[in-house]
């Protein structure tokens, strides 16, 4: 069962006890591979992850991932929620991304222009998609898939992501099941 299926099957559990979306990533599930809290992420690592996140979800008329402190978010989740194996993949992945940047653009990721960063991550996304498409359940996860998932999840559940990029009303007060939608209207955050 992949994460999308896990999500949809959980969403079906109306009568059990709750309706709730479960987590949005592939970590945090295997009990036998408990991760180690307190991995070392330097301030430079956080800045690096901020820029990776910003390249995945850039600022437009609404804030980008960096403004939502996506680097800190990735650190928190990798530290506290990831299994040991995934933690290592993520840490190694930061180095791999850097190497890929030097190979493709001849410079580090942070020294690259936004366009260079974008093109690099497009390549990495293609790579992770191809890898994931043929990946067997027990094969390791791809580091860029982790970074992308963490960025999307962290961004859209942040205050800016939920209330500015998306729409959120804390207390809707009513339910209307069938109302008009026009292209461009924002999606509800939850």
């Amino acid at each position: 069962m992949n994460r999308r299926e896990a999500l949809s099957s959980v969403a079906l559990l109306l009568g059990g006890t709750i309706i709730g979306a479960e987590m949005f990533l592939s970590g945090c599930t295997n009990p036998d591979k408990i991760g180690t809290a307190g991995l070392q992420f330097s301030p430079d690592d956080i800045s690096f992850l901020d820029e990776v996140g910003e390249t995945i979800i850039p600022a437009t008329s609404t804030p980008g991932a960096k403004e939502t402190k996506i680097g800190e978010f990735m650190k928190t989740i990798v530290n506290d929620c990831y299994e040991k194996e995934d933690q290592q993949i993520f840490l190694d992945g930061m180095k791999k991304l850097e190497t890929a940047s030097k190979t493709k653009n001849g410079k580090s990721f942070l020294e690259s222009t936004p366009e260079e960063r974008h093109n690099l991550l497009v390549d990495l996304d293609k790579e992770q998609k191809e890898y994931t498409a043929t990946k067997k359940e027990k094969d390791p996860n791809h580091y860029f898939r982790m970074m992308k998932e963490l960025t999307l999840w962290g961004y859209f559940t942040s205050k800016d992501g939920a209330t500015k990029a998306l729409r959120y009303i804390a207390v809707p007060g009513r339910f209307e099941g069938c109302i008009p939608y026009k292209k461009g209207d924002k999606a509800w955050a939850t």
Binding site: V10, L14, G16, T17, L166, Y181
Partner: protein, 559 residues
């Protein structure tokens, strides 16, 4: 010890315990409600009720530390960051699994009434007659007609929203206005009606979320954060509903941290005289005495208390003389269903977060249908538009991805089955006297599984789900099937079934223990079969009925 004498003792404060306390107090009995865990005060103690996703360090999801700390709860969705404090500690309260059984518990005032799914349906005579018709277990000692007025009574007080659908298999009740279906759900219902000639109706869920105000309670605000505790009191819980009613009488005492270790029994009078408790904070022992006792500790814990009671008379405990105490454990088996994409409707959306879904009542093995298994299943589901969770795999990264994910995605329709489990005598709980919990008390051992009948049913549950979504025009329909371990339905039933004969049942038709008629067991323990329909509304109805009978018998000095 005069301070510890009451007219009635209620053991447990969840859905049925709260109802027992309310009914007994309103009938003038000085009542004490004993709760094994901490107190949770309505509104004030719902500490996360107004938090948003971004207020949680892990955005609500589980951490590796939580996975370590909750070896049982981690098995399914309940382990999460938002209401972790509402789930009992697996480490403090372990149990033995002869066979795997997922037991998700709430040890605090309100019990699982705080976190329940709120789906509220009546059982019909298809359920109450099921055992008699196919010869499994024993016959229910009651029929729908006898319980119907009590369903009326329970629904009016609890506040159930729903549509009057006129279905024989799912009787209508005293409903508040229904919640609305989404566009896709409406069309799904309409296409199902055409395709299956009305034999597989799709209805809006009937839920214990109020759509009109009740005294002290505001109607549902569509936040869909029920399981954090509702500051509006919009769903039925002990705290929002039965507890305030009981307190209003001035007759109720609530005693948290009261772990009932046994019911005290006078073998000469053949009556219970009270209970012994262990204070969960101080480990001190106390006794309480009363004329009647309502046992509402939840199905498996009620069995545990009975097994530890009156062992000088019956080695296997109070209520064990029939040999059925702790046997016939049931739950709903679930985790099977299908989902698909409903194309079109791109110009439709919804407003608000509906804490409810759609329901497809049982259609198998009734009205002339005959399968290679007994009984049936119902589905719960919903049709909604995808949000950012869809990964939009066709777009890599950047502005295009951001723009795509800030708009709603396609409509998806998903349904998941809830299957009836037959009452098997060999599905049982026993005491494991070799292991102890945090308080030094022996623990339960679970020996429960679903069998061939359920396995065959699960095939249909999946195939029918795929067939219906396909028939309704869904694309990319995918069936799914999890392992469906029992316990996950969180609908434990049957540990002290009622019946017509004391030789084959633990309780009589008014929920009284045959061997101690002043003890009433009105949580899920009494259930004789499991139906495929959510059971909590039935607990409410039977509890109110039992309380009425108890007070009447008390007045007649029969107990």
């Amino acid at each position: 010890m005069a301070d510890n004498v009451y007219d009635a003792i209620v053991i447990g404060s969840g859905i049925s315990g709260g109802w027992a306390a309310k009914e007994l107090c309103e009938k003038g009995l000085k009542t004490i409600m004993l709760e094994r865990g901490r107190n949770i005060e309505h509104v004030k103690d719902y500490v996360n009720a107004n938090k948003e996703a971004w207020d949680y360090p892990h955005r609500g999801t589980r951490t590796q530390q939580m996975i370590k700390d909750y070896p049982v709860l981690k098995r399914d969705y309940p382990l999460n960051e938002t209401n972790l404090d509402y789930w009992c500690s697996d480490k403090d309260s372990p149990y033995t699994e002869i066979k795997r059984f997922d037991w998700f518990r709430g040890y605090h005032v309100g019990g699982r009434s705080l976190m329940w799914g709120r789906q509220s349906y009546r059982w019909s005579d298809h359920d109450y007659e099921a055992n008699a018709k196919d010869g499994h277990a024993i016959d229910w000692p009651v029929r729908y007609k006898e319980i119907a007025p009590w369903y009326d009574y329970a629904e009016r007080f609890a506040g159930i929203s729903g549509n009057r659908d006129g279905l024989e298999v799912l009787p209508d009740g005293q409903f508040m206005p229904p919640m609305e279906m989404t566009c896709v759900e409406k069309d799904f219902a309409s296409r199902m009606k055409d395709h299956f000639k009305g034999m597989r109706p799709v209805i809006i869920g009937r839920t214990a979320n109020i759509t009109e105000p009740l005294p002290g309670r505001t109607n549902c605000q569509y936040r869909n954060k029920c399981w954090l505790g509702c500051p509006f009191g919009a769903y039925f819980s002990t705290q929002s509903s039965t507890l305030p009613a009981a307190m209003k009488t001035g007759n109720l005492t609530v005693r948290p941290w009261a772990i009932v270790t046994k019911i005290l029994y006078d073998k000469d009078k053949k009556r219970a005289t009270g209970v012994e408790i262990l204070d969960g904070e101080t480990n001190k022992t106390y006794t309480y005495h009363a004329k009647i006792i309502f046992l509402n500790a939840s199905t498996l814990n009620s069995a545990w208390i009975l097994m530890n009671s009156a062992t000088d008379v019956w080695p296997d405990g109070l209520g064990s003389s029939s040999g059925e105490l702790g046997h016939n454990i049931m739950d709903h088996h679930l985790g099977v269903g299908a989902s698909g994409i409903m194309e079109g409707y791109d110009d439709k959306y919804y407003f608000g977060r509906r804490a409810n879904g759609i329901y497809i009542p049982r259609f198998r093995n009734i009205f002339g249908d005959k399968r290679d298994y007994l009984r049936g299943f119902g589905y719960q589901g919903r049709g909604s538009r995808e949000g950012y969770h869809r990964s939009a795999e066709e777009i890599a990264i950047g502005v295009d991805l951001k723009n795509a994910l800030t708009e709603p995605g396609p409509w998806t329709l998903g349904i998941g089955g809830f299957g009836e489990t037959l009452p098997y005598h060999e599905n049982k709980v026993t005491l494991d006297k070799t292991r102890k919990d945090k308080w030094g008390l022996n623990i339960l051992a679970m020996d429960i599984e679903y069998k061939d009948n359920e396995k065959r049913m699960r095939k249909d549950m999946k195939d029918d789900a795929v067939e219906m979504l396909t028939a309704a025009g869904c694309k990319n329909v995918r069936g799914h099937e999890g392992d469906g371990t029992l316990g996950r339905g969180i609908h434990e039933m049957g540990s002290a079934r009622m019946g017509k004969d004391s030789k084959t049942s633990v309780l009589n038709k008014y929920n009284q223990i045959w061997d101690a008629p002043n003890v009433f067991v009105t949580d899920g323990s009494f259930m004789v079969s499991s139906s495929c329909v959510n059971p909590s509304l039935s607990y409410m109805a039977f509890t109110a009925r039992a309380a009425d009978h108890a007070v009447s018998e008390l007045k007649k000095q029969n107990i």
